[in-house]
Subunit: 179 residues, 2 copies
Amino acid sequence: MALEHAILVSLTEQAATGYDLARRFDASIGYFWRASHQQIYKTLARMEADGWVSATIEPREGTADKKTYAITDAGREELTRFTAEPSPREALRSDFAVKLRGLADVTAIVEDTRRRRADHVERLDRYEASAKRHYPDPDAVEERERGAYLALRGGILSERMGIAWCDEILDQLETRSDR
Amino acid sequence: MALEHAILVSLTEQAATGYDLARRFDASIGYFWRASHQQIYKTLARMEADGWVSATIEPREGTADKKTYAITDAGREELTRFTAEPSPREALRSDFAVKLRGLADVTAIVEDTRRRRADHVERLDRYEASAKRHYPDPDAVEERERGAYLALRGGILSERMGIAWCDEILDQLETRSDR
DNA sequence: CAAGACATGTAACTGGTTACATGATTCG
DNA sequence: CGAATCATGTAACCAGTTACATGTCTTG
């Protein structure tokens, strides 16, 4: 389970509320881990019980208290322990590949593939823009940003391969007649 | 949810017992969908209740009956319906990327990356061997095998990109001193 | 005769999703 | 004053994992 660890990594960079974390998971960390705010609040509660994070409470009237979470020493230890254990291979589950394998309706799959390709292109653009902005010189990435840079590179390579796959599929399935 | 649909695709090709399906999910279909036998039995029961598959029962003494499942017309309809709906983007969740992003222990990550690279190489070899054996001429793939071929191509591209990523990571993190 | 393949399951648990619910503050 | 953003949750459900459980048949 790595949601906990993704949160720990994020808190290492900067203390945050559940809401902040949810936004980070929509952006940079979301490149390789998605999480809803409900899931994040649930997980933070468990992590606090485990002593991996500690909350600073800011009472508010009329609504729930604001809680800002910071990583604890125990949390840092847990992160080190987690880093040391071998990562399991990602369980790959692709609805798209299942459809493709079945190839029940070529027209529908071509359509789906085009949609998918457009999505990859859009993400690739975002990632490349982000890379250009934050790491204009890849050979001079700062020590403490190296991890984030390499993770982003993974995103870029992954989107490029996605596009290449879509192109192969379209090349084989598209009839010359339509567009 | 696509386990049901992965099963339907598999049964379209050939009727099978739960045990057979579990083995198929360890092999070809397992390139893009993993499932344990427990999960498969549970899902088959639900699918039978939904009328998507029908079981031929072969009674056996002293142990549970053998059930061979075949896809029904309702199952084929469901598969068509599923193919027509747009595929959701895969939820990407990578323990490895979380670790990399945190970069808490460079030595541990280098080790993990090497392990990961070896795994990608091994899979790539298997996929390429399979491609060579089943589809020696990519331009002459039979109509009804096109889906399987394109899915396998996805696997190949994905492993290649995995290797490329590992190489970039190792290139940036490996000190010249070790190996 | 033992090991491994064939064959089917149950039970407890965990992580994640979807739907629902509430309320304050800020900015155009 | 209304929309967006900030902020925190609960409840019901579902899919998937892990551990446990059983028994036959085939082959070396």
